[in-house]
Assembly symmetry: C2
Homo-oligomer: 360 residues x 2
């Protein structure tokens, strides 16, 4: 019995998403090191193990700590936060921990303060310009490598990039263009350093690129995360079909305004987050309502979408032909715009078999 905003997971769709990405990685002989920041759940992590995945990516040391009870090889894909050195040393003593580095100061600190060995990837800015070393800055890369080589606690693993600028693409061609540039940048680094570091790993792979591309030449490892669920934002980018989205929020109807064709649901910014799609045909959209079925949900209902969110309220725009179908106490199923943020706010996933899947 649903009584408040509840995040549902369609296990079949979710496992199909996992299987599809695992197959793709296998086809292209890539190591799949999925990013677990999207689901943050030990239980969902186990579904990946069933497909042979044994290495993961996370975005914080807190997440690495949570997953370390069941995973022995974890990359924290966030610039190393030296203030958390105690957690770093604790984790490095228990699992194969990889950090990402891009600054001399960070490596100098690690060299002095590590008590266990760990791996590092040098973070390369492959065009997103959020963070990372410019790939043409070989002087800095050489400096970082000399610091790494001089430490008996730090092992060089390779170069890691994140093409987050694919999230601004709206066509497969756009995604492939970004992806091709990532491959070229990484190929130059592999050429430059492959001989000196024979086992070096080239790690790339955001969800849009990994969903769309079929050429991964020179890549050793991919780290997509969002694909486990997908969402409306990924659909807009072109990563997935609506039918592949594996989570939806059930939201109780608390008020109906027939005069302006709106329904108020219990389900706001503290449940969905306020990530939005801009420039939709309806304007700004914070979620879309889907048809309900007994054990899941179906297509998007045309013209039925979340037009605004406040802390607890969601305002749903409803077609005139449909407004009479709903009554207070019903629940609407809503596809979120950005599932990583939504899942972070909700503390569990509910299945249609009345299971509750917990997370960090």
């Amino acid at each position: 019995m649903i009584t408040k905003p509840t995040l549902f997971i369609d296990k079949t769709k979710c496992k199909e998403n996992i299987q599809r990405m695992c197959s793709k990685a296998k086809t292209h002989q890539l190591e799949l090191r999925p990013h677990f920041k999207s689901h943050q759940s030990l239980e969902i992590g186990r579904w990946f193990k069933d497909f042979g995945v044994n290495k993961i990516t996370v975005s914080s040391l807190a997440m690495a700590d949570y997953f370390s009870s069941e995973w022995e090889d974890i990359t924290v894909a966030f610039p190393t936060n030296i203030l958390e050195i105690e957690t770093i040393n604790d984790l490095a003593g228990r699992i194969n921990l990889n950090l990402i580095v891009e600054a001399e100061d960070t490596l100098a600190f690690l060299s002095e303060n590590l008590t266990s060995t760990l791996g590092v990837f040098i973070k390369v800015d492959i065009g997103y310009h959020r963070t990372g070393v410019a790939p043409e800055n070989l002087a800095l890369i050489n400096q970082l490598l000399s610091q790494i080589d001089a430490s008996d606690k730090i092992q060089f693993k390779g170069f890691l990039g994140h093409a987050g600028h694919t999230y601004k693409c709206r066509t497969n061609e756009g995604i492939l263009e970004v992806h091709q540039k990532s491959l070229e940048i990484m190929a130059r680094l592999k050429n430059a350093y492959g001989e000196r570091y024979p086992g070096l790993i080239i790690s790339v792979g955001d969800t849009p690129s990994c969903s769309v591309a079929e050429n991964f030449e020179g890549v050793d490892e991919i780290r997509p995360g969002n694909f486990v669920f997908y969402d409306l934002a990924q659909n807009k980018i072109g990563s997935n079909d609506i039918s592949q989205i594996a989570v939806a929020m059930a939201c109780p109807v608390v008020a109906i305004h027939k005069d302006r064709l709106e329904i108020v649901v219990y389900g706001g910014g503290v449940h969905f987050s306020k990530d939005r799609l801009e420039g939709e045909k309806e304007g700004t959209v914070f979620g879309r309502v889907v048809e309900q079925s007994e054990r899941g949900w179906g297509d998007i209902i045309p013209g039925m979408y979340v037009k605004s969110l406040s802390q607890e309220h969601g305002i749903i725009s409803v077609p005139g032909s449909m407004i009479d179908q709903y009554k207070i106490g019903d629940c609407l199923m809503v596809l979120p715009v950005h599932i990583c943020m939504t899942a972070n706010l909700m503390k569990s996933y509910h299945t249609f078999d009345n299971e509750v899947i917990s997370r960090l």
Copy 2:
């Protein structure tokens, strides 16, 4: 020792904010029923008790349940969610619970299913158009009142409105214009029903109106919430000075990009939420960096602001004259745009006396 994004509270500023609003309510002979969705903390709630507050507002039954251990009179200012009838009955049996209603179906359900008595306010749409009964729809108001009168479990408390459209104002004059219209709408309802219900309460009072207005004619109760902390969005509206903002996030510096005058901090959308200020002189702003002092913080540093947020990353734009002052491992203090959403994401408040104040 700060190691990760940490939400700090300046207790002095916070208590001054509480005192100022309590004084204003007293001056205007208003009942202050503060909205506790902004802080969601029993401990901070106790600071209000010190100023004589004994009634509160919350935005969910879960919050009402949390505060019911210390508060005996709680209004849930969200359209009644009938699916939570068990919680409603539990609370109504323990405390003076007030719900808000605006639909016949909701009242019909309550009449049939309540096991204890409670109060209801009729929610009136005073111009925000999020939800509520249109104030000119006396037929519906009369219908709701007849349902209320027919129930021995439901007591009519009065009319409640929320002028959320003040959040779109950018001047005091704009806020006062909205507030004046609220007063006029509510005066008409008090005139129409005051004789039939002599004790009826007129309840209004968003933070901008309560911060700026000096005329509350006809109003019995105000329910501002955000003023306990204030934030950049309220400052932009004109509710508060920057010096009155009582919370700031400490964010570790993890990377520095001197070439593009940017610092990457640990502090992203999962800490701040992604509420933003649009149309600032710098463009879109997700937070502003303030000067640090030993036991607090000072003014905004001109030109130093959060230009973008992803899940864990915050990108800070830094003036060229200042970039050399910072190093990896420092912490920046950042004022949030919308503290209600930020506080909801962070699970505690830290004081400069090393206290940790918990919340729901």
